[in-house]
Subunit: 203 residues, 2 copies
DNA sequence: CTCAAAAACCGACTATTGGTCGAAAAAGTT
DNA sequence: AACTTTTTCGACCAATAGTCGGTTTTTGAG
């Protein structure tokens, strides 16, 4: 009765690693069950389909990011720092070094998109809350908060998930954040190091 | 020696329609060749793989949009109108009524992403040129033009390609454009009708 | 017009895929 | 032990993208 739970976790874990390392599309059910040492039927006893399994794997991934974002939310930071922190925790590239590599490879489009979609879904309310705080404290000034926040997340995801983002991209993004949220000029740019790290300048 | 060209166009055309109407993933090579009345071997005489065919189909689609964008570029409009026009012509939803329906269905992710990617690739230089004009004419004021333009295109694509975008989304987008390009407040918002049409308010 | 080379075409075949199913082994319950 | 429930098994299936050797059709040079 409990054995099943463990089995499922184990399968989820194997699949997670395989999806990350070689992509969802390029990982066959046969490979998964071979690595797990089980039969086809057993696999389908736990998962109704391969895609449903992907959904669960993604669920796991999101949970992790969400928890780390919620931690940020509870920290005694000003809304500006919180905003940066949340955006950062919802941008992979941090986790393992290989996660993004695989997640954003030309293949793996499906997984990438599904992750992105759920990520934004989860992040919008959290970040909106922070922005609200920021407004109350007079640090931000804007309307249509969820819509704005969504735009921010979309852009951050789209731009920073490609390994070829430049110094200019970061600059523009910070500028955009300031203007979209109605923050004081420079209040965000000052800490741009939090986002980009040093990706080097391209060409 | 020329017969091949016609055949290929015909296949491309059939595939285009099928991809649009039922999605790339849900269209099998067998279906295509059956509709075309040819044999498997013939198909693979023209296309090295199904995916490569998709690439060519997308190429066709992009060409169309690009041409219409270039027309806008040559029109005697002020940069503000041109900007709107280009963004608009690079946002599907115009073409056929069904195109988006299929393009943005939960499946068809692969096609959607590939189209998006190439769309942005093609649009960035065009739109950058327009923004440059706008700056010369004193209508815009900004730096890092390609990066900014790219952000604009990403957002427009991400937001307006979902059938559930709201009045608020449009408002925020126009505001963002103004601020990102350093346009005079209201100079773009005035013509927001050009983008959204009337999608109704959700919920 | 002839005819060989090039282009176009054919369809049976393969390998791999995600998924099904009925039956059997394990585990738990009484 | 006798039963019920959970878990496991693996042969089997239908669909799929792609291959290949051979055949027909087109074409253009002589």
């Amino acid at each position: 009765m409990r054995k099943g739970e463990r089995r499922k976790e184990e399968l989820l874990d194997i699949a997670y690693r395989m999806f990350i390392s070689k992509g969802y599309e390029n990982t066959s059910v046969d490979e998964i069950i071979e690595k797990a040492g089980i039969a086809k039927g057993t696999y389908y006893y736990y998962f109704k389909s391969k895609e449903q399994m992907l959904e669960e794997v993604i669920g796991m991934m999101i949970e992790k990011e969400k928890r780390s974002a919620e931690e940020v939310l509870d920290m005694p930071l000003d809304p500006i720092m919180k905003t940066m922190g949340i955006i950062r925790s919802f941008t992979p590239e941090v986790d393992e070094q290989t996660i993004e590599e695989a997640l954003h490879s030309p293949e793996n489009i499906v997984m990438h998109e599904k992750v992105k979609k759920r990520l934004i879904e989860e992040a919008v309310p959290l970040l909106s809350q922070v922005v609200e705080e920021g407004i109350k404290e007079g640090l931000f000034y804007c309307d249509h908060i969820p819509e704005r926040v969504r735009v921010l997340l979309v852009v951050s995801n789209e731009i920073f998930n490609e390994e070829t983002f430049t110094e200019g991209d970061v600059l523009v993004f910070m500028d955009m954040m300031e203007k979209m949220l109605g923050a004081n000029p420079g209040s965000l740019s000052a800490i741009k190091s939090l986002i980009g790290g040093d990706n080097g300048t391209k060409e």
